[in-house]
């Protein structure tokens, strides 16, 4: 998107070039091998990261500076989408703690109980890709304002801390990135009930585009029946 980011800065940044070019990584974060000990026991909502034994993955992860891990609850709509309930995501510049702080800030900005941590981890991943000193300073500022650890602060304290920096470039960077990171991925689509592209399935002409039954039907004059051949 070499020709437009400035224009779109406020929308949340243009869709990331690398994500556009690599279809397979667009809406996916690397998922660790299935059946890791303890994975099922973890509740993704509270952000706790299980202690997984990832002997194969670990060597790769260690190349980066941080790693975020979690699981997708087996009962969620996302379980069927994921090849494994466990996920792990490598950060190149940010530390694990910094990544978690950004995830926590994402949850303050756009609090969706139904969105798993895996989605907020996408925010950390996308910000990691463009991390600079200002971003790191902003993260440190969150911890400082929270009296040590932003992640561990109470919900009220987190909200207060974020509200206090509303006009800063750091805030705008993170908030803007949320728009594409949190809402333009398959997990968000599934959670919010938006199936995306429909032409592959023949559109909605025979798949419920007028299945709303809780209001009186329009007259045939106002809304003629569909042409079905």
């Amino acid at each position: 998107m070499e020709h437009c980011p400035a224009a779109l800065a406020h929308i949340g940044g243009a869709p990331d070039k690398t994500r556009n070019d690599q279809e397979t990584t667009t809406r996916v974060i690397p998922i660790a091998p299935k059946a890791q000990p303890g994975a099922d026991a973890c509740n993704d909502e509270d952000g706790r990261v299980p202690k997984l034994d990832l002997p194969l993955a670990r060597r790769e992860f260690l190349k980066g500076s941080g790693v975020l891990m979690g699981t997708i609850a087996t009962g969620s709509v996302l379980a069927a989408l994921a090849p494994s309930p466990a996920w792990a995501l490598e950060l190149k510049t940010l530390s694990t703690a910094e990544g978690k702080t950004l995830m926590a800030m994402g949850r303050v900005l756009y609090p969706h109980k139904k969105l798993p941590d895996a989605v907020y981890a996408l925010l950390a991943k996308d910000l990691d890709a463009k991390a600079d000193a200002a971003l790191k300073a902003g993260i440190a500022g969150l911890d400082q304002a929270a009296g040590g650890s932003f992640v561990k602060a109470s919900a009220a304290k987190k909200l207060q801390v974020v509200k206090a920096i509303e006009d800063t470039p750091f805030f705008n960077t993170v908030r803007g990135q949320c728009i594409t990171s949190l809402y333009d991925n398959d997990m968000a689509y599934a959670v919010f009930g938006y199936p995306g592209s429909a032409w592959e399935k023949g559109g909605y002409i025979t798949r419920g585009f007028q299945d709303l039954k809780w209001l009186p039907a329009p007259t045939a004059e106002a809304s003629p029946p569909p042409f079905l051949g």
Binding site: M1, H3, C4, A6, A7, L8, H10, G12, N20, E23, T24, T26, R27, V28, L81, A82, L109, Y110, H112, K113, R175, C178, I179, T180, Y183, D184, D186, A188, Y189, F192, G193, Y194, G196, S197, A198, W199, E200, K201, G202, G203, Y204, I205, R207, G208, F209, Q210, L212, W214, L215, P216, P218, E221, A222, S223, P224, P225, P226, F227, L228, G229
Partner: protein, 550 residues
Amino acid sequence: MAAGAHRRSQPAALPGLIPPPQNNIGDTLATFDFGDDSVVVIIGSGAGGGTLANELCQKGLKVVVLEAGGVQSPNSFINDEWKSFSQLAWLDPLTTSGTWRLAKDFAGLPAWICKTVGGTTTHWAGASLRFQEHEFRTRTVDGEIAGANLMDWPLTLKDLEPYDARAEDKMGVTRTNGIPGLPGNNNFKVMYAGATKLGYKEVHTGNMAINSRPRDGRGRCMQLGFCFQGCKSGAKWSTLYTELPRAEKTGNMDLRPQSHVVRIEHNDAGKVTGVVYMDKDGKEQRQKARIVCVAGNSIETPRLLLLSASNMFKDGLANSSGQVGRNYMRHMTGSVYAMFKQPVHMHRGTTMAGIVRDEARHDTRRGFAGGYELETLSLGVPFMAAFLNPGAWGAEFAEYMDNYTRLAGMWLVGEDMPRESNRVTLNTSVKDKYGNPVPNVHFDDHPNDVAMREHAFRQGQAIDEAAGAIKSFRTPPYPSTHNLGACRMGANARDSVCNSWGQTHDIGNLFISDGSQFTTGGAENPTLTIVTLAIRQAEYIASQMTARAI
């Protein structure tokens, strides 16, 4: 997740389905010499330029179409909001100023228009409404409105009616020419229930240039829900797969994609002689012309005239009135998204699935001049996040997103006041990749626009409430899709840029061929009128050439 994310299988076989038009643009294009000064050069290939090209080619004229964007097709359209945006949108740098909220929300993106063969007809929703009689004479009807630059059009509805009819036939507009209306989707059911409960009378699935049944070699609407991203079924009219291939078939069209015109040249006699453009390799080319028609939409069209300033025309071409770039309009707009207890799934089906027309009338008892339309609209989750309330965050925003399946959407669009100070100028402190000053778009809402938006928000919310909404949200304007004016037509050269045929007053062989010609905006979505004017202009150009007047 990865496996299912981007399936590319064939659509299921359904009755009434004609395979999407295969875009073979380029197979039989004519090739005219750069030095051929007998050609008509058309800049832009959208509703204005694409239609004009076909009309002129059908009359046997040689046409060179220079389009800044590349060629896509229904096959290559991407039904993914952000990816499609990258594929189709005009993303060259622009700047903004003024008190309109867009200058804050989308400072670098005041308009949501397209840079692709077919122009913004790839992205448009398809609403095709005729102007009303009184809308051509706002100065007479409304008199002097302080801070507004109202002016009567130099033509009347009666003048346009025959051409409106031809445009409707060409585009296959529903509820004209015996074409049935489209079937309403769930989003329309909400609008219909609420609007009729409030007592609105003219509520239906609109006059849409989207096939409700197979017509003109194109299939019927499959209710894909991605009208804004390029219609993959080809049911929606776009010059990309109607006008342009037909023009090509005549053997009279030389279409050059990725050709960005940077300057129009003229001779000592003050007639234009051709254009300079940057080709796909960034190489400068010069195409001679007998006539130049500018159809680059209402920001780039005036910009090009201003960029073409010369010793003879120091303020830009066709600008003796000083009106080039002025009276830029973008329609009064806004949206209402309402939350219901039960599912709506507004994304299913035609994006603009229905309309309430009762407020389009002229009735100053409402506290404002002009009228507006209420039309259903839906956005997918990615664009809902970007546009619901730009810059917002927190629990309320999240609640709307959480309830995406239970939202109904509606767009408000009405006539805005032309103002001399709302204008497109050259921003010499910011340059594009060719080193040319970018356009700055300055806009201040007129009090009339503000009053109309307030009324429209209230009525839109009342409609949703009548249908049972729990709550609703007033979404501010999106980047402008209806960019109008800035090279307005008028009766005399003193205060307008072109005459009723789009011919500039100052330069007889230079034409304005897009919505820039609009003297005032009307309440209606403008594409039909742009097509209408293009058909009429083609007749005029042909007759003037035959008469050797040009």
